[in-house]
């Protein structure tokens, strides 16, 4: 099929920078000359709750949300959030997970238990699972808040987008004073082995 669409489902928790990451990816894809659509919800749906963003690209994209069962890459900013999307993945999906735990309210109150060994379980079920310590990469780059861009760097390895498009996207989407540190974080993420 010449109109092969690539679908990335991004998941995380409000405040983690999921939306900004999806903006950078969508921008880079557009700069590479592809059609792209991305979708998420704002307002009440954020506020520390679960957040998702759909990024779909290819020669010609119709739907801005991914058809269930068509997620090529699950790009998850938080361990527990990764588990919410098993039923919408394609066969043999790429699963990139940021090594971070954020406790939901019911766990904080001691009413629910945060599942253990999430990474191990994912690794066993999905051969193309990869755990990334984006926080460490961001700190190495010099700013803990560049964690989402470092994580995007790791994602970039899986997409055939010229590096220059990524750089331009980061320059476009971030305030000038943060570009340098974020480019560094991106590069560190990109250098993580696939």
């Amino acid at each position: 099929m010449n109109n092969a669409i690539k679908n990335i489902l991004m998941a995380g928790v409000g405040g983690q920078g999921v939306i900004l990451a999806s903006e950078i990816v969508a921008e880079a894809v557009m700069l590479a000359g592809l059609d792209v659509k991305k979708s998420e919800v704002h307002g009440m749906a954020q506020r520390g709750g679960s957040v998702t963003s759909h990024v779909c690209f290819g020669e010609k994209v119709y739907s801005p949300i991914i058809r269930d069962g068509e997620v090529d890459i699950l790009f998850s900013f938080e361990l527990l959030e990764t588990l919410r999307f098993q039923s919408v993945l394609k066969d043999d999906p790429v699963i990139l997970v940021n090594q971070q735990k954020i406790l939901p309210p019911s766990v904080i109150l001691g009413r629910d238990i945060y599942p253990e060994n999430i990474a191990e379980m994912l690794k066993e079920r999905y051969p193309r699972f990869k755990l990334i310590n984006a926080q460490a990469l961001a700190l190495q780059a010099g700013n803990a808040r560049a964690v989402n861009v470092a994580f995007v760097g790791a994602l970039s390895r899986y997409l055939k987008i010229p590096e220059s498009c990524w750089h331009e996207a980061i320059e476009t989407m971030l305030p000038a004073k943060l570009v340098k540190v974020n480019l560094k974080a991106f590069t560190l993420g990109r250098e993580t082995p696939q």
């Binding site: 979708s39 307002g43 506020r47 520390g48 119709y62 739907s63 588990l83 904080i108 629910d112």
Partner: protein
């Protein structure tokens, strides 16, 4: 953010594209009240300095301002979320009769699935009800283009025109090609003649067209037949309108659809035939008949109500719609696949973990609402609530908000409860309302309490912003949409002018003071107002002092969990032997001190005090 005219192709959300479309179409005046998913239209329109844009206190005022600008001959835009149209319905229905001079376009952003709304009404019904044409774009490029088409239609047919977005067209981003703005009449503003009056104003001052714009019964009677005639002409237009597009492919399956639903269906059935409607009201009857006659099996794929389906069935055409697609909730490519082909897209494999703790939205760390709700919970009163971040006070562990129906509604609920109990609700019922919501439509409710000898207490949760929609300005903040300084309403003076005799101010971060004052006022058998003051933690215009985070002294903590009752994301529980302890996530703690006020053994202290 789109950069003006620097690139030809940009990635825009539907809302950004509407703003760009307004610029390209020569819009002169835009007014709105923020509401998800419509808010970003006006936030983005301010980059086009040629457009006068404002936050109105509510949607009714926004539409009236836009109508006034259109009467003056300018192109004018009012934008709102779906329920905002309910507020603006009064001017809407009669503006349909008056028609316009300059084009008048109303954007309604519907919210199927209620991602951030209290209902999922289908505002296509408003087009039919008010006899106003409605366009529905399917992506950002169309959103931009349809603004121009809407203004042309408005002026050609002398009618306000709706553009309907949904959450997925408002917030989804897709590629848009920018064009130069048209040279249309933004000129209403700025063309000053010698005597100081804008030259163009002359025409409407000399020819005010009272028979058109003064809807006295005799004038309105003359306008109603015009409206009916206009609808017929728009029906003919719809049939000729090339954006109502027939895409003839495999004719064994034909799908009539519009908006983002078109893309969902096309994603799952790329080879099917489509009648993609751009003008969703009135319908292109002849085109529908032609399409129906050319396909074997006909579907209507429309989110929410059977709006097309009912009209198409009334034409005597056999069609499948809501018998296979849901009325409730949002569509997706998978909904199309299931309804048309019976394909179940979700995988049935065993989940790795059976039960996942939910992660609902929550008030932020340091949110000033938290302490007030804790206090109300302690008082065990019925809390008539309203729309805003504080609606989250209904969720566990606070669970202290008992009604939420519409903007400003809680104040009326409190009065109704009080009157049902024959003024004996004093001490048992209180209304809470945010500052922006109070100014939107709470003032009249309070006036009613005073006028009708009610006894309710209204707590205005003044966090100095319209927080839930993303911190927009309003008449109480002292800043305009563009961030210019302006007068800020004084709630005390306002409430006093309404006749409230007991008006108290409390610091939302001072639990003891707040409880004492709220108790006094709630127990007082007279109308009263408590203004709970503290800016939203995310508010940008007030420099909030950076407060050191708190910590739990583990040796002092008894593990009573009292602090966890406020549901702060920064407060966490550590299970350990022999007794569990609370601890504070330093990265999240905003230093509001509420939890430390709750601790019975003073185990929670500011980090710097501990050093």
């Amino acid at each position: 953010m789109p950069k003006k005219n620097t690139k030809k192709k940009v990635l825009l959300s539907g809302n950004e594209a509407i703003a760009r479309g307004a610029f390209e179409a020569g819009v002169s005046v835009a007014s709105a009240y923020p509401g998800t998913p419509s808010t970003e239209i006006l936030e983005n329109i301010i980059q086009y300095k040629e457009i006068y844009a404002e936050w109105a206190p509510n949607e009714k005022v926004a539409l009236e301002v836009a109508t006034g600008a259109a009467i003056a001959g300018a192109r004018a835009l009012a934008t709102m979320k779906h329920v905002g149209v309910n507020v603006a319905a009064d001017p809407l229905f009669t503006a349909s009769y008056t028609g316009v001079r300059g084009g008048l376009v109303i954007v309604t952003a519907d919210d199927p699935d209620m991602h951030s709304s209290q209902n999922e009404q289908d505002n296509r019904n408003y087009a039919k009800f008010s006899k106003i044409p409605m366009l529905e774009p399917a992506d950002s490029q169309e959103a931009k283009e349809y603004v121009r088409i809407a203004f042309e239609l408005s002026e050609q047919f002398d009618t306000p025109v709706f553009i309907r977005l949904t959450t997925r067209t408002s917030h989804a981003k897709s590629v848009v090609t920018l064009e130069k703005p048209s040279v249309h009449a933004r000129n209403v503003i700025g063309m000053q003649s010698k005597n100081g009056r804008a030259a163009v104003f002359g025409s409407f001052l000399i020819h005010p067209q009272r028979s058109k714009f003064v809807m006295l019964p005799q004038n309105a009677r003359a306008r109603h037949p015009f409206v009916e005639e206009r609808l017929k002409k728009l029906g003919d237009y719809a049939d000729a309108f090339e954006r109502n597009e027939m895409i003839m492919q495999d004719t064994s399956c034909g799908i009539i659809t519009s908006g983002v639903s078109y893309h969902y269906a096309r994603e799952s059935f790329p080879e099917a035939s489509f009648l993609k409607l751009a003008l969703v009201y009135p319908l292109p009857v002849e085109k529908i008949r032609r399409f129906a006659s050319q396909v074997k099996k006909l579907y209507v794929f429309e989110e929410l109500d059977p709006f097309f389906e009912d009209q198409i069935k009334a034409l005597g055409i056999e069609v499948t719609g809501k018998s296979v697609f849901p009325i409730c909730g949002e569509f997706s490519p998978s909904v199309a696949a299931l309804g048309i082909a019976g394909i179940q897209d979700r995988r049935s494999e065993q989940p790795l973990v059976e039960y996942l703790p939910p992660r609902p939205p929550n008030m932020c760390p340091g949110c000033p609402h938290r302490g007030i709700f804790y206090t109300l919970k302690k008082m065990n009163v019925f809390v008539a609530g309203d729309i805003g971040c504080y609606t989250l006070g209904a969720l566990p562990p606070l669970k202290t908000l008992d009604t939420c129906i519409c903007m400003g509604g809680g104040i009326g609920h409190a009065q109704g409860i009080d009157k049902a109990l024959r003024n004996k609700a004093s001490g048992t019922t209180v209304a809470v309302i945010g500052d922006s919501t109070f100014l939107h439509s709470g003032i009249t409710g309070l006036l009613n309490i005073v006028y009708n000898r009610g006894t309710s207490t209204v707590i205005i949760l003044d966090n100095r912003t319209t927080a839930m929609t993303g911190r927009q300005e309003h008449p109480g903040t002292g800043y305009t949409l563009q961030g210019q300084e302006t007068k800020a309403i004084n709630y005390r003076t306002l409430c006093a002018a309404l006749g409230v005799e007991h008006i108290r101010t409390v610091d939302s971060y001072n639990l003891k003071e707040a409880e004492q004052i709220i108790r006094e006022e709630v127990n007082r058998p007279e109308p009263s107002v408590v203004i709970a003051e503290r800016p939203c933690k995310l508010y940008r215009r007030i420099k909030q002092p950076v407060t050191a985070p708190y910590l739990v002294k583990e040796d002092v903590c008894k593990g009573c969990k009292d602090c966890l009752l406020i549901g702060c994301p920064a407060l966490q529980w550590k299970t350990q032997q022999p007794v569990g302890k609370a601890f504070i996530n330093q990265a999240l703690c905003a230093g509001c001190s509420i939890c430390s006020q709750l601790c019975p053994v003073d185990a929670i202290v500011r980090t710097e005090e501990n050093e």
